[in-house]
Symmetry: C2
Subunit: 176 residues, 2 copies
DNA sequence: TCATGATATATCATTATGATATATGAAACT
DNA sequence: AGTTTCATATATCATAATGATATATCATGA
């Protein structure tokens, strides 16, 4: 019952906003969803095929140009998407290699641990700046409903990353 | 180069603390690492086999009782673990279905979105209580080095979850 | 004595990743 | 005009990992 092939719904969700090619779907995931989701070509293209066979999306091959394949959602696809959206969430998962390496800090030693914390802190600081920019831009266009939900996820990122930075300070204190 | 089969190092890391059976490894992951890592029997048992063949772990089958197989780390295993621990982190990843469903809130509608936020908030509150208990207990036994690193990861959980709860309030305000 | 749940090992279909291959269009420079 | 370079675009595959399931034993207590 689990293993609902989440990539199905990621694709249907993105197509519910606008028609896209497989390549554009990958870009959207890497840009807008990257804080809380990921997806690879290796799952996107085969899934577009099966979604089309199941009548959840339609494809139109461009006759001119390089003949790129533009997918759009069907009524059936939209229905299945809505059904899934209403179901309770199955899994929220964090998978932080940084924490895994810290946990085994006994083998690594204090210096090594501090190096990982330092690198982590720098990466998070950079990301946080980006998110704050996104949020500022989104606040300007809040009239469109879609942007409100996007902003919600960006704000989640901001709150999280601020907490992570706060933890970095605590961690460095605790270790010294 | 990537795809380093992380489960290898999870197992080696846990065995660097003490000898364990496959079943106990699974339990440790579910108990101590569950905030930032996961692992299934389907990866643990086959990996223990290959780690043994590669001379990274040794097994001892109990002669009495049900003959359970207790694994311990070898010098070679400890060396490979340390090498990996020193390498820069490849990936810290968050995969929150809750945020995915929120992002497509346009299709789901405000009520549905609020329901997901509500459920999320409750789950996080429960988890946070647990983490605060763990932290309090760990603070008492900080003399042991291993506990210090464990505490570090628990504190990460606490800071994160407090931020998530803070975000829940913001989100509910923004939607109403 | 028997039922139940925890312990313990193992396997497999399914999902997804990350790497790679291949090719075209557009822009930039020389 | 020719060519290099990068973004666009589709596709495939070996490998990793999950989640479900099967099977069996031990411990507990009713």
């Amino acid at each position: 019952m689990a293993n609902e092939k989440k990539i199905n719904y990621v694709i249907l969700g993105l197509l519910s906003h606008e028609p896209l090619t497989g390549y554009e779907i990958k870009k959207k995931i890497d840009q807008s969803l990257r804080f809380f989701w990921s997806g690879s070509y290796g799952s996107i293209y085969p899934t577009l095929d099966t979604l089309e066979k199941d009548g959840c999306v339609e494809k139109k091959e461009e006759s001119s140009g390089r003949g790129k394949i533009i997918y759009s959602i069907t009524e059936r696809g939209r229905m299945l998407l809505k059904e899934w959206l209403m179901k309770p969430v199955e899994k929220d998962e964090l998978r932080y290699e940084t924490l895994l390496k810290l946990f085994f800090g006994g083998e690594l030693g204090k210096e090594g641990v501090l190096t990982h914390i330092q690198r982590f802190e720098e990466k998070i600081k950079q990301e946080l700046l980006l998110f704050e920019m996104y949020a500022a831009n989104l606040e300007k266009v809040l009239d469109e409903e879609e942007h409100k939900y996007y902003l919600l996820t960006v704000k989640f990122g901001i709150e999280s990353y601020r907490a992570f930075l706060n933890w970095c300070e605590q961690a460095k204190t605790l270790l010294s």
